[in-house]
């Protein structure tokens, strides 16, 4: 447990769920793409080994005392299992260079058995990383998995630009792909849930920056809803995140039934609180680039303070988080600053006077 905290993240999360007293506000900065930096390894080293994936998360937790460790199944897992080719950068997140599906006529040639843990070494490795996290730290801190939602899963198989066009030109084929991906994701989520892992469902390609609301309702919502139901049937828990501006779909997202909603920094926390704060806890939304990567220590304090001011009275609870994943270009000390600010402004009982002062003199 972090020396300045009085509760472990498990105790804090339990108290949060039951509406009991906590020492401070929950803080879940999304420390995924930065974690190898905290451990002093390259991205390639991290992704090659279950032990190192787990170790980088444990190192983050031991340094920052953040309230969730996060293993990365990622956004491309289904595509790569099926045969999409990735690049292999030494020290950066890999990207898809050639999608497995170029023609919607060829959907039948995809073999979704390849996405099962027996057949997909990446999936198996992340499960092992989760097991290590649980074994070493499970009594103290929860572990989540950052994993694709249905629409982004399709984009890992079929190029996004073609996918967008096909929502208009050939919606039936896109629904077929979504059906197949949703079924595959159920089996994948199940393995994590059986290991006590929280599902962090991320669906960036379903962003309001790319899709209009009617496309979200037609092509994403039914499948996301089905997945949420399935997660709950298994006794699991889901935090739902879509990148970019989701202002127009925030109600629809909550209608799918997640346990928590995580919002990007492009969305106003106050607006989301008013719209859906009565229905579920909200996570958000310290800007990962403009504040955490490019900002000063006092910018970070100011941003944390503003988030707490806006979020603290959200009816079902508020968890401070970054608006999106924190990348490896963020100085690791800036997360120290963020957590220090959380412990200053987010300590219970909340000091309203402190929150209304300017965050100077740091």
């Amino acid at each position: 447990m972090h020396e300045q905290d009085q509760m472990t993240p498990n105790e804090r999360l339990q108290a949060f769920m039951k509406g009991e007293k906590m020492d401070r506000i929950l803080a879940m900065p999304i420390l995924v793409s930065i974690s190898h930096r905290v451990s002093g390894m390259t991205h390639r080293e991290k992704r090659a080994s279950a032990l190192k994936q787990a170790q980088s998360q444990i190192d983050c937790y031991q340094r920052y005392g953040n309230d969730m460790m996060i293993i990365e199944y990622g956004l491309h897992g289904i595509g790569t299992a099926l045969g999409s080719e990735m690049n292999d950068p030494e020290d950066s997140l890999p990207a898809i260079v050639n999608h497995v599906l170029h023609n919607l006529q060829d959907i039948d040639q995809l073999d979704f058995n390849k996405t099962k843990k027996e057949n997909d070494p990446w999936f198996a490795r992340t499960l092992e990383a989760c097991e290590i996290c649980q074994e070493k730290m499970g009594q103290e801190v929860p572990t989540g998995v950052l994993i694709t939602g249905p629409f982004t899963a399709v984009s890992s198989i079929f190029p996004t630009e073609h996918l967008l066009r096909a929502t208009r030109k050939d919606p039936a084929s896109i629904h077929r792909l979504l059906r197949l991906c949703t079924d595959a994701l159920k089996d994948i989520y199940k393995e994590y849930i059986e290991r006590g892992i929280i599902i962090l469902m991320c669906d960036p390609i379903a962003s309001g920056t790319l899709l209009k609301k009617s496309q979200y309702v037609d092509f994403v919502k039914p499948y996301a809803t089905e997945l949420m139901n399935y997660i709950h049937q298994l006794g699991g828990m889901c935090c739902y995140h879509i990148c970019g501006n989701t202002t127009s779909i925030v109600m629809e997202m909550v209608d799918t039934g997640p346990d928590m909603l995580s919002i990007d920094n492009l969305v106003d926390l106050e607006y989301v609180k008013e719209q859906v704060g009565k229905r579920l806890p909200i996570l958000g939304n310290v800007p990962p680039v403009d504040v955490l990567m490019l900002g000063s220590r006092s910018d970070i304090f100011e941003s944390v303070k503003t988030c707490i001011l806006k979020g603290k009275d959200s009816p079902m609870g508020y968890i401070i988080a970054s608006g999106c994943d924190i990348t490896q270009n963020v100085p690791v000390e800036n997360i120290d600053h963020m957590m220090e600010a959380v412990r200053k402004y987010g300590r219970y009982p909340i000091d309203e006077g402190l929150l209304n002062e300017p965050a100077t003199n740091h």
Binding site: S92, A95, V97, E161, T209, Q215, L294
Partner: protein, 222 residues
């Protein structure tokens, strides 16, 4: 046989509507009718297809159209353009300035939807576009700009890991002594005006239609 020839205005309106209404399957046929009727190809492009794309851009600005809509509109525009292109006058008018722009996604990043939309909208606005694609080596932007004598380089990225590449392009331009000859515009998910200032780029745009406004300002296009 139907010998009724549609008026030029009518066909221009149809070309514009094919683009604006995302009728990519009929744009080429309308363009063929337009040429067969003996009307000027250049007008067909500017007052027909481009007009439709501009209307689509306006709707995008107003958040009535989204990315998918713009993509399908542009498919219609290019289908029509494929027909009209060979009928365009070969020589440009005396004294006309060609605004040339090199565009691409910086090295290390393969996300190119945003870049493609900006290319489409700049092309619509009258820029001669040189699209280097995605994951483009930084030096290539400068080489291409020198080769074609471009006034503008547009750099795009969605990833924070590749943002520093944009600064490097600016630095290469300085090193080669041509920084004052080429403007640099940047765009992409994680970027901001603050980052643009920080790396001494000339302009930042938040989306594809904003990019047109900024690009025109940067090169002094009326």
């Amino acid at each position: 046989m139907n010998i009724m020839v549609k008026s030029k205005e009518e066909l221009l309106q149809q070309l514009s509507d094919c683009v604006f209404e995302m009728d990519d399957e009929n744009a080429a046929d309308v363009a063929k009718d337009y040429i067969a009727a003996g009307y000027e190809a250049l007008d067909g492009v500017l007052k027909g297809l481009v007009d439709g794309m501009n209307r689509a851009g306006q709707m995008y600005e107003e958040e009535e159209y989204f990315v998918t809509d713009l993509l399908v509109c542009s498919d219609a525009m290019y289908n029509g353009l494929d027909v009209l292109r060979e009928h365009l006058p070969q020589e440009t008018a005396e004294g006309a300035v060609n605004y040339k722009c090199v565009i691409g996604v910086v090295e290390g990043d393969t996300h190119d939807i945003g870049k493609n939309l900006v290319r489409i909208m700049l092309e619509t606005a009258g820029f001669e576009m040189y699209d280097l694609g995605r994951d483009v080596p930084l030096q290539s932007f400068v080489e291409k700009a020198k080769d074609v004598d471009a006034q503008l380089i547009c750099l795009s990225t969605l990833m924070t890991t590749t943002m520093p590449g944009m600064k490097e392009v600016v630095d290469i331009l300085v090193k080669e002594g041509i920084r004052d000859k080429v403007k640099v515009m940047i765009g992409g998910g994680p970027l901001s005006q603050a980052y643009c200032n920080q790396i001494n780029a000339d302009g930042y745009a938040v989306n594809a239609t904003g990019a047109v406004t900024v690009a025109k300002q940067l090169v002094g296009m009326a």
